[in-house]
């Protein structure tokens, strides 16, 4: 618990707590935009945390995680289309399909490594994208509206506020778990594999099984983020599973701090926040945004979380 008092932990924890009390204040100020915006931040933070398990811990550079966001979205919209609004059904569909697809694509992708792994995960995601686009009866290119939001215990995720708190709860639980996971045998085996794959094998651990489990786990969690996103937008569309989304997730994780516990949250917040501010300031926001990301990348490979950690380490020495 003493660790929580260090800036590297304290700042993200305070940010999370601040986000818990933000909605009533925003509503009091008659400003619903910020609730929707931060709900989106929370959802992407969940997706980035999920990717971080594969990418940050396992070193598996997947450029196809948008596929799982898409599966999550459509596991809300498709049952809803047929009048099923039970959140448990949505969740079950999401978990099952993501686990199945994650496991199958993971099995094939993990036979490769490096650039080939990146390309093959991208290829799978594009396949999923074009399958959805080709399903004209479900809106195809245009996507489909969601008339019946997921319902858990009588609570409907049909307002930004309800999605917001649901996402907040999921993110806090997930972050807490990742904190444990990082030092657990599973997390250590994964992180060891990223540093020296050969050595993990000679230690007696079948690395590929852990990598496959990590990839599947991260796929399922990404799917949950997709479910929340579908409810937030009341819409499921193929554009949310475009390959650029996979790229943005990677940028969030790297920006925040690869393999750190709070990094993905900080990364999602910084990424979407900067995007929003720049969009308001200039039409050519993308050019400025690129430079901003470049600047952070040059700060070092440990991202925002690493920067906070280094700062506190220096203060500790002084």
């Amino acid at each position: 618990m003493k660790n929580l008092l260090r800036p590297a932990q304290l700042i993200p924890v305070l940010l999370l707590l601040a986000l818990a009390v933000l909605p009533p204040i925003a509503v009091g100020m008659q400003d619903n935009f910020w609730v929707s915006f931060f709900a989106r931040v929370l959802v992407y933070a969940i997706a980035a945390s999920a990717l971080n398990i594969a990418l940050g811990f396992g070193g598996l550079v997947s450029l196809g995680h948008a596929l799982f966001i898409g599966i999550g979205m459509y596991s809300v919209s498709l049952p809803a289309y047929y009048g099923v609004s039970s959140g448990w059904v949505h969740l079950l569909a999401c978990v099952l399909v993501c686990a199945l697809v994650g496991c199958a694509t993971g099995l094939i992708s993990l036979r490769t490594s490096g650039i080939a792994f990146i390309m093959i995960t991208l290829a799978f995601a594009q396949m999923g994208y074009f399958v959805i686009v080709s399903l004209k009866q479900y809106g195809g290119d245009d996507g489909m509206g969601i008339t019946a939001a997921s319902e858990f215990f009588g609570l409907q995720l049909n307002t930004p506020m309800s999605v917001y708190y649901c996402a907040w709860g999921v993110l806090v639980a997930l972050t807490w778990w990742v904190l444990r996971l990082r030092a657990s045998p599973f997390g250590m085996a994964l992180r060891a594999g990223r540093q020296n794959a050969r050595r993990v094998m000679s230690v007696g651990l079948a690395l590929q099984r852990y990598q496959l489990a990590a990839y599947t786990l991260s796929a399922v969690l990404c799917g949950v983020a997709g479910m929340l996103l579908a409810n937030l937008n009341a819409y499921a569309s193929p554009s949310s599973m475009a390959w650029t989304v996979s790229g943005e997730l990677i940028v969030m994780v790297v920006l925040g701090g690869l393999g750190s516990v709070f990094g993905p949250f900080l990364g999602a917040l910084a990424f979407l926040g900067t995007e929003e501010v720049l969009k308001a300031a200039t039409e050519h926001w993308m050019a400025v945004f690129g430079l901003a990301i470049l600047a952070v990348a040059m700060l070092g490979k440990t991202g925002i979380a690493g920067w906070l950690l280094n700062r506190s380490a220096k203060e500790g020495q002084a």
């Binding site: 250590m188 020296n196 050595r199 007696g204």
Partner: protein
């Protein structure tokens, strides 16, 4: 004494080059068996075949009562056939204790545990501490592997092998690149390990080999030329001929 590890006409070729040429070797339980040979004799290739990192083209490897020819390195490590590397191979971002505990855990069980900390695993931790102490790294337990000196990294390599509580240790040049003092420390360490473990040692340092080994096998161009006690090897004319001009046999 019972044979613990046995190879039968083990062969490995890289294209046209025969790197391991019908090697039939037996290592008895409890002995320290050394393999020597000039550079390029195929010592590391042989170690890689024994550890399971490299598939053999033909021949068999028996470990205890089991045929392990078809098993991979992680399966062999689980059975107690544990190796250390010539080029130090540790996890740089982990501390000495984390490195060693992971090695201890991997030898014993799987890592499909998602909540309790690795360092909270008492059994693995106890084995790790034992390995660290045996390797003489106790004071450096909480230092990152990346911050260790060269000799210390070699010690960590040994600690990781020992933490696995192996039946059989494959040591690939544990003294490579060490200073005289560091080498002496490792020789002293290996002396304490002798008899507790069955050890197959590949080493260039002839003084160390002749001081430690119960039996020595000489590998030349992938072929096992002769196996014998240090005295027999020292008196062998063929061995002398091979090493003549290269270095004096102790």
């Amino acid at each position: 004494m019972k044979t613990l590890l046995q190879t039968e006409v083990l062969t490995k070729r890289y294209g046209a080059i025969l790197v391991t040429d019908k090697v039939s070797l037996d290592v008895r339980e409890g002995e320290l068996h050394a393999i020597i040979g000039p550079n390029g004799a195929g010592k590391t290739t042989l170690i890689n075949q024994l550890s399971g990192e490299l598939r053999s083209d033909s021949g068999r490897i028996r470990f205890g009562d089991a045929d392990v020819t078809g098993l991979g390195i992680n399966a062999r490590a689980r059975m107690g056939l544990v190796r250390s590397y010539q080029i130090t191979s540790v996890f740089d971002e982990f501390t000495v204790l984390e490195n060693t505990t992971l090695a201890a855990l991997g030898a014993r069980t799987h890592a499909f545990r998602f909540w309790k900390a690795l360092l909270g695993d008492r059994e693995a931790l106890a084995a790790a501490v034992e390995g660290i102490e045996a390797a003489g790294l106790r004071a450096r337990s909480h230092v990152l592997a990346s911050e260790l000196g060269y000799g210390e990294r070699r010690q960590l390599e040994l600690a990781m092998a020992l933490a696995a509580r192996p039946k059989f240790l494959l040591l690939d040049e544990p003294m490579a690149g060490m200073s005289v003092q560091e080498s002496a420390a490792v020789v002293a360490l290996l002396k304490t390990l002798k008899r507790k473990y069955t050890i197959l040692l590949v080493e260039h340092d002839m003084n160390a080999v002749f001081a430690l080994a119960d039996r020595i096998s000489v590998l030349v161009y992938g072929r096992l030329m002769v196996t014998g006690t240090p005295e027999e090897i020292r008196g062998n004319e063929e061995v002398r001929a091979i090493y003549l001009g290269e270095e004096e046999i102790a």
